[in-house]
């Protein structure tokens, strides 16, 4: 009887990495308790965290391997399932070469799972076709900040929020998406820190801010260049810092001369006086900590946007000290770790380049196996290749691209075009429903491992209960497949810790980490190596990894698609406090599911009136790519001319509408801005779900 067990672990939602304990009864997790002594969360959690028990409940879980038979799935043995998957992978490679197969790893899985995924792709399939959803969240951060600073992660720590006298929140909504971190910002504000918010939406923090720059969608570079214009014109730049540590200053100062306040006001809609105030606040602050998010990265100019933010930070010298920095808030619990582990087509663990022959030789030697040398495809690249019949077999580990990737119809077409789609999943997600084989995996509560949070802190994940049915950790499945596909025994690990010990030996920035040390220290922040055995709370103190940082001159360029007479409104996307990603876990909680209808369109009262919409009324939203029906939430959270949809809901997927036009460097799609038109549904007519609309279209 009773709840007598409680196992401390790391929350599986978002990149903050709060501590939680799983309270168990028999083999079931029945409740969640916060951990008061946790370094980051200090006894706090968000609504998602408190609901985590329901998210992984055995109810609705896939319990045994499933094989597609016509329109249905039937259960089969592990032996049979693994044999079929191995055969399909061997066939694909035999027919078209290693480039015809690939792995989509998972930002929700552990470091150990991600390490195993890229090792499986590179050493077993012999391809660099490995990627994960960082592609659609922070690939521009990795690319942009590596160019300007030499490292693509949060430069500072969450604790630094308390050390800042100005906090800048740029294109992110941390109270909803990184709630405990957002709470720290609110607490800092109450204690007297100033708050500057840059966002097209009037977010909760924007309502509390000392200054809110409510820019038009997709005008980040113009705005940031405008701030730099003022800073250089007034001589507010940090000259000493620039001289000592930054290259490329002159070219940027020259470029931003074109961005005078009047022109920037015309482009962004932000009053020139507010630009001046913001520039002054940022340069005058003793320590200004800047956070940014998807509002910066999810654009066709994503990488340039990141570099524009970096320019501002460097110009003011707000980096390399406590309470400062440029801090991309990573969305998923382990998206930092999945990147660190090299679940990306161009880098091995620790961002060691695939293009470097010495790196390839190092891994080939350590793994005892030849590795791929040809460059790999990104996730959207693999999808495109599949549509072009050049790509045959894909493993997707716990991601749901049908709901989360742009232009849903194209994603579905790609997955249907594959010879074999293998999905490792907890539940039958929209993506899993298209699979040929679904393999049941252990949730975070059922396995050991580590997650790396957004401040580069590696923390322990601990098994509290056994996996339900025949579910297994992802790394276990990959180990079995390695043996069957290639007779490779180098992935037959006896536990997560063995994988961690292997990966630390090959990942310089993790090299001084071990499970016992992580536990002793309450997590370790990379770089954690012989030079920094206790980790690194903030980066770039004395020098940048590339020596001197670089400022890069950038030009404003609007979104790929703009409103016009046919599609007159901007659509942007957002997240809600209550849900996480595709909703496959959070929507299993009766409490969270009760909070919102399955799909929402935020719309300004003026636009609602123009279109005859009432609060909660049905609305049809169309773009050049698709149609959804959902419910209107009338609010001044969005300005006139802009509507916004959360992407959590398969019934009303915003990705029916979004544009997959991409950032040329990182292939990041432009999820934050496209053009739509809307019409009110007749009163009493309920919005139809995506499935219902598809059925009708088929008829």
């Amino acid at each position: 009887m009773g709840t007598l067990c409680s196992v401390a672990t790391t929350c599986p939602f978002c990149g903050v990495g709060c501590g939680m304990a799983l309270r168990t009864e028999g083999t079931r997790v029945v409740g969640i308790e916060p951990l008061p002594r946790h370094r980051i969360s200090c006894g706090q959690l968000c609504a998602k965290g408190y609901a985590a028990a329901q998210g992984i409940d055995p109810r609705d879980r896939v319990l045994r391997p499933l094989l597609r038979q016509g329109g249905d799935f039937c259960e089969t043995s592990w032996d049979d399932a693994l044999e079929r998957v191995s055969e399909a992978l061997r066939d694909a490679v035999a027919e078209l070469g290693p480039a015809a197969a690939g792995v989509i790893s998972c930002a929700r899985a552990t470091n150990e799972d991600n390490y195993a995924a890229q090792k499986f792709a590179r050493a077993v399939l012999q391809t660099n076709n490995v990627d994960h959803c960082a592609r659609i969240c922070h690939s521009p951060s990795v690319a942009g900040l590596r160019q300007t600073l030499g490292s693509g992660a949060m430069t500072n720590s969450i604790d630094d929020i308390e050390r800042a006298d100005l906090i800048v929140i740029c294109g992110c909504d941390p109270t909803e998406n990184h709630s405990v971190l957002g709470g720290r910002v609110m607490a800092a504000k109450l204690r007297g820190a100033r708050l500057l918010v840059i966002d097209p939406r009037k977010t909760r923090l924007a309502r509390m801010a000392d200054l809110h720059l409510q820019l038009a969608p997709g005008t980040n570079i113009a705005l940031l260049n405008g701030l730099l214009h003022i800073i250089f014109a007034r001589g507010w730049q940090n000259r000493e810092f620039l001289e000592a540590r930054v290259d490329g200053v002159e070219a940027v100062a020259e470029k931003v001369r074109d961005y005078d306040p009047a022109r920037v006001e015309a482009i962004t809609g932000v009053p020139a006086t507010d630009l001046e105030r913001a520039a002054r606040m940022y340069t005058e602050a003793e320590a200004a900590l800047l956070c940014y998010g998807m509002g910066i990265t999810q654009h066709t100019t994503g990488t340039n946007n990141v570099m524009a933010v970096s320019n501002l930070v460097l110009a003011a010298g707000q980096i390399g000290r406590p309470g400062t920095g440029i801090n991309p808030l990573r969305g998923q619990n382990n998206v930092q770790g999945a990147c660190d582990m090299g679940a990306l087509p161009n880098v091995y663990p620790g961002y060691q380049p695939v293009a470097d022959a010495a790196v390839r030789a190092k891994f080939a030697s350590a793994w005892g196996r030849e590795v791929a040398s040809a460059p790999g495809l990104t996730s959207l690249g693999m999808q495109k290749a599949a549509r072009d019949s050049a790509f045959r077999a894909m493993i997707i580990m716990g991601e749901d691209p049908v709901v989360t990737d742009p232009d849903q119809n194209q994603v579905e077409a790609a997955l249907r075009a594959l010879d074999t789609l293998v999905v490792f999943e907890l539940t039958l997600t929209e993506t899993a429903k298209l699979a040929d084989v679904v393999l049941p995996v252990a949730s975070f509560a059922e396995k050991d491992g580590t997650f790396t949070n957004c401040e580069r802190r590696v923390q322990r994940v601990r098994a509290a209960v056994p996996p339900p049915g025949e579910a297994r950790p992802d790394w276990w499945i990959l180990g079995k497949l390695a043996r069957r596909v290639a007779g490779y025994e180098g992935m037959a690990y006896d536990g997560a810790e063995a994988i961690f010990d292997e990966l630390t030996s090959l990942t310089p920035s993790y090299s001084a980490m071990s499970y016992p040390r992580i536990e002793q220290r309450g997590g370790l922040q990379w770089p954690c190596d012989a030079e920094h055995p206790d980790g690194t709370p903030y980066l770039h103190a004395g020098r940048f990894p590339i020596g001197r940082a670089r400022m890069v001159p950038l030009e404003h360029q609007g979104p790929a698609e703009r409103p016009d007479s046919e599609y007159p409104l901007w659509l942007t996307t957002q997240r809600l406090h209550y849900h996480y990603g595709c909703g496959s876990m959070t929507r299993k909680s009766p409490l969270l599911e009760r909070e919102t209808p399955p799909g929402l369109l935020f719309i300004h009262p003026d636009d609602a009136a123009t279109h005859g919409l009432v609060q909660g009324g049905g609305v049809r939203v169309c773009s050049r790519r698709g149609v959804v029906e959902t419910r209107a939430l009338i609010s001044d959270q969005v300005p006139p001319g802009l509507v916004s949809m959360p992407y959590h809901f398969k019934e009303a997927p915003s990705n029916q509408l979004t544009n997959d036009a991409q950032d040329p460097l990182t292939k990041m799609p432009e999820l934050k801005a496209c053009a739509v038109r809307i019409e009110a549904l007749p009163a009493e007519v309920a919005p139809r779900t995506r499935a219902e609309l598809a059925q009708e279209a088929a008829r």
Partner: protein
């Protein structure tokens, strides 16, 4: 009851009680503390800082996930709560006051009552105030209130712990334990210890001042909405509050039928009160926050239940990401 004894140590008492029942006491694993089953070799380390034990022993009496009944396709069959004897060991005065309130609130709730009847409560007096606690202001501590525990342990530095028998059930539970009678001044020693503990809590005038303003209706709607803007509806405060009792029910398919489960719920959620028709009696976050505070502290609720439903444990202060704990909020109200 006035029997008082001297203990050689807390372990002596816990081990004795463990012969007849399972003993649940504060345990720790590294930095993680919680109430859990006391193992024979486990440390018995009393924790008198409520915020360090976020859920206290609440789940052992009001389970976070309780099966109510099963529908087998034809009939509804109650699934009774466990009723094996259990000792809840090391409860602080505030948590015991909370249990006394739960006893009253959940009178007639078969699942709570079954768990509660099976539980023997062993309290510990606090030696000093804790960071966020204001139990003295809420008449809930730092000394264990009469009648709220079956056994009460009073500790003091450099002295053997004293054991006070709080009920006949407590007396029966220690029968057979070779106890030394306490020195004659035991009751006075306890009184002095509690006086010192109370003094260490310090003056917190904003608690009483804030409650007075709340009762006088002097808190404006604007202030509630300003505070409500910060409320994330995370459910942290209601999860850690030892007197929060709200629950929701759901049906889980099982065989040909279904199982009805109840889960902890939170009145700060927007969906908590939204009716099927869409009507909402408390449509704004500020209104929901106001209701929470009135329910914990307000005069009509005090009149209904004979005391405030807040016991001053201070847990909400550390659990709230938005600095809306009772301390902070009463401070804000008192200062406005």
């Amino acid at each position: 009851m006035s029997d008082v004894y001297e203990l050689t140590g807390l372990r002596q008492l816990a081990d004795h009680l463990a012969r007849e029942a399972r003993v649940v006491a504060p345990q720790h694993d590294g930095e993680h503390r919680c109430f859990a089953l006391l193992s024979e070799d486990g440390d018995l380390e009393i924790c008198r800082e409520p915020s360090q034990l976020p859920l206290a022993a609440k789940p052992f009496l009001f389970a976070e996930r309780e099966s109510l009944f099963v529908f087998d396709g034809a009939r509804f069959v109650e699934t009774p709560a466990p009723s094996e004897p259990l000792v809840l060991f090391g409860l602080t005065a505030c948590d015991l006051t909370a249990i006394a309130y739960l006893d009253r609130f959940f009178e007639g709730d078969p699942h709570y009552v079954a768990r509660r009847r099976a539980a023997l409560l062993v309290g510990v007096d606090c030696e000093r105030g804790c960071r966020d606690g204001f139990c003295d202001a809420m008449d809930a501590g730092p000394g264990v209130r009469d009648g709220s525990a079956d056994l009460v342990v009073h500790t003091a530095p450099d002295a053997s712990p004293l054991l006070f028998i709080g009920s006949e059930r407590g007396a029966a539970a220690v029968a057979g334990l070779a106890l030394e009678p306490a020195p004659a001044d035991a009751t006075e020693r306890r009184a002095r210890g509690l006086e010192a503990a109370e003094a260490s809590l310090g003056a917190r005038p904003h608690i009483a001042a804030g409650i007075a303003r709340l009762d006088a209706g002097e808190v404006s709607a604007e202030l509630w909405e300003e505070l409500g803007l910060r409320c994330l509806a995370c459910s942290g405060c209601t999860t850690v509050c030892p007197t929060c009792t709200c629950f929701t029910t759901t049906d889980e398919p099982e065989g040909d039928g279904a199982r009805r489960l109840r889960y902890w719920d939170s009145c700060l959620f927007e969906g908590f009160q939204r009716e099927a028709s869409g009507h909402h009696p408390a449509p704004t976050a500020g209104m929901r926050l106001e209701r929470f505070f009135r329910h914990k502290l307000g005069e009509p609720v005090r009149a209904r239940f004979g005391r405030a439903t807040c016991v001053g444990c201070g847990r909400c202060e550390s659990a709230c990401p938005a600095v809306l704990g009772i301390h902070s909020t009463l401070g804000r109200i008192a200062a406005t």
